[in-house]
Amino acid sequence: MPIQTEPMTVNIGPQHPSTHGVFRLRVTFDGEEILEVEPIFGYLHRGTEKLAEERNYTQIVTLTDRLDYVSSMINNQAYCLAVEELAGVEVPQRAKYLRTLTAELQRVASHLMGIGFFLQDLGTLGTPLMYAFRSREKILDLFEMLCGARITVSYMRPGGVFFDAPEDFWPALEQFLEDFETEYAEIEQLILENEIVMVRTRGVSILPLDMAINASVSGPVLRASGSDWDWRKKAPYDAYDRMEFDVPTATGGDNYDRFWVRIQEIHQSIRIVKQCIEQIEPGPTRANVPLIIRPKPGAEAYGRVEASKGELAFYLVSDGGISPYRMKVRSPSLINLTVTEHLLVGWKLADMIVTLGSLDINMGEVDR
């Protein structure tokens, strides 16, 4: 006779150390095994899209910082691309390179956090996380040199970037790249081939490619399932059409592959940063854009970038006023979360936390 167990419903979150913000899951367990999952979010809703209708186009940049607060540069970039398309502004070359450079540094910072917290969820006592933070801090220091802020940077503006990089930024960047090589090698050495990481993550929570595509998943999560879809390649923006880089893809679609893709993307981002340093030339960093932008009535634009978490897009509609009639954010974290239930059911409690970590969600972006 099989032993009968009683299903137990547990609330994971919204106050839980491993839900990456205020995410809540109502999970029914049979012992350790997951029977049902109900994701509940909205605890960090700040009404960003509505607030945007009350502000002018330049002010909205500061709102985008607070969406995915670990990759604000890329949020700025996506929004600025949308406004530039809306107002028909041509961005100067130097600004394009500066944007590409900072966006790639931000991607490194964001992926470092993703990797660090993924390993934290696996149960390491913070060592890989601290290794990752060590490098991330240096990137934030570089951002501070550029614009005075570390997290909510607001560095980019419609038409370019706010300031040109100061003189001492470039030697500091070279120094960072030099240090990063050894620091990142240390992280990789510590965890990439670790047997426990392998046994915990390989073959766990597999996301098949067709399901990933149907669910409109993007970013490293999609590329880990076998697609090589990357907007930096498919529809290059800013200076990406002049950059040489590869798109890391994996075929397994499991937790390890999602983690592995992020590890490899950092190498590619560093490659892009190095090319930016080589190719950048002196020149203006901001197009002549009025402070108050008034696009034509009825104009609409869709600014899309490959953010660290996937396809991030801003859809703007103008009614001819100083603020957008409507701003819609397509946030990758929210859409990547739609596959949670498929990924989690049938696995164990410990796997659930790791899978959430491998999706690398950010609640600021999910709830907006």
Partner: protein
Amino acid sequence: MNCVLGSDNILNDTVLYRVIYEAVGQVLPCGMSYVVAGLAMMLLLVNGVLLGAGLFSWVERRLIGRFHNRIGPNRWGPFGMLQPLADLVKLLTKEDLTPRGADKLVFAIVPVVMVAPVILVMAVVPFAKDTALANLNVGILYILAVTSITSIAIFMAGWSSDNRYAMFGASRGVAVLISYEVPVVMSLLGVVIVAGSMSLDDVVTAQAVPFFLVQPLAFFVFLAGTSAELNRTPFDVAEAESEIIAGYHIEYSGVKFALIQAAEFGAVLTSSAVMVTLFLGGWSGPFASYLGWAWFLMKIGILAFIFSWVRATFPRLRIDQLLAFAWKFLLPLSIINLFATALEVYFLRDAAGTLDTTDLWFMAGINFGVAFACLLIFGTLIKEKVRPAGPITGATLSTGEAD
């Protein structure tokens, strides 16, 4: 009055006790000094273990800080050594909460049940020559019996807290403790066979060659099993911070939490002490008759450092993998070790049934061969589990050009 312990008294072997007893016996009646000396020993033991736990919590935080590229606590006292005291003061002044649905009595006695075995274990461990509080002739059996109390305490904590996370932690903790008890006991049998005694004093004396050389497999199994019983990474499923927050002690606060933490840190030290005694030669070393305690403490320090190092490095295993590791890996290893040791002792012992130093070195040689072969064979067997066939990942770098 002149009180002298009878030579048949079990406490007569303990130098420290005898000294206190005879000193107190100068002023008090013998019966009373018997009790007073006992209480004095207990005072030493309890304070020693709890102070050691506090000190170790500081050492570990500093060490892990170093592993993290941080500094660690360095504000209170020299090098931050008073940090445990500051933590204690903070915890003592905090509100001591009991959840509404809790089984109040069980909830309240858990910290005591948790701390007690940690201190009790130290009663039979010899710190230096003839210094164990009680030189039991079944010392190893006593240690195994006392350490099993911890699993009851964990389950009491989980059950009485009326919290589902605590229940998760408790059921995990009990599963782990019960599973790992088996290989640990089996590995200890090898030591008992070689030493020919279950008394810890005799085990130390028998180690002309330290037993971690004579019994490498047993040492490995015991080390792994102990870190599982101590709930430390990679085996810390019972209080997995990223999954079930604090596991069985999630609802504990204030002084109860302080006691549970003291028990956890103290358990590392006492387990190290047991391991030092059984495998690293206890207090033996150069000038052991004067410096035995120093050797003993140094060896504990080395093992405690290894525990901290492992804790800072490894991710956590899943509960099913953890149990599989115990039953499918450690248990066979300890059985092999037991058989090999039994055969070696059968053939090598002399007519009186004792082993001399040459025999021990000979055994060490054979056992290292056995250990190497076993790890190789089992490593190959579980390789498929760890790394399924095929490349590590899809491992392709696509150029991803627009089609």
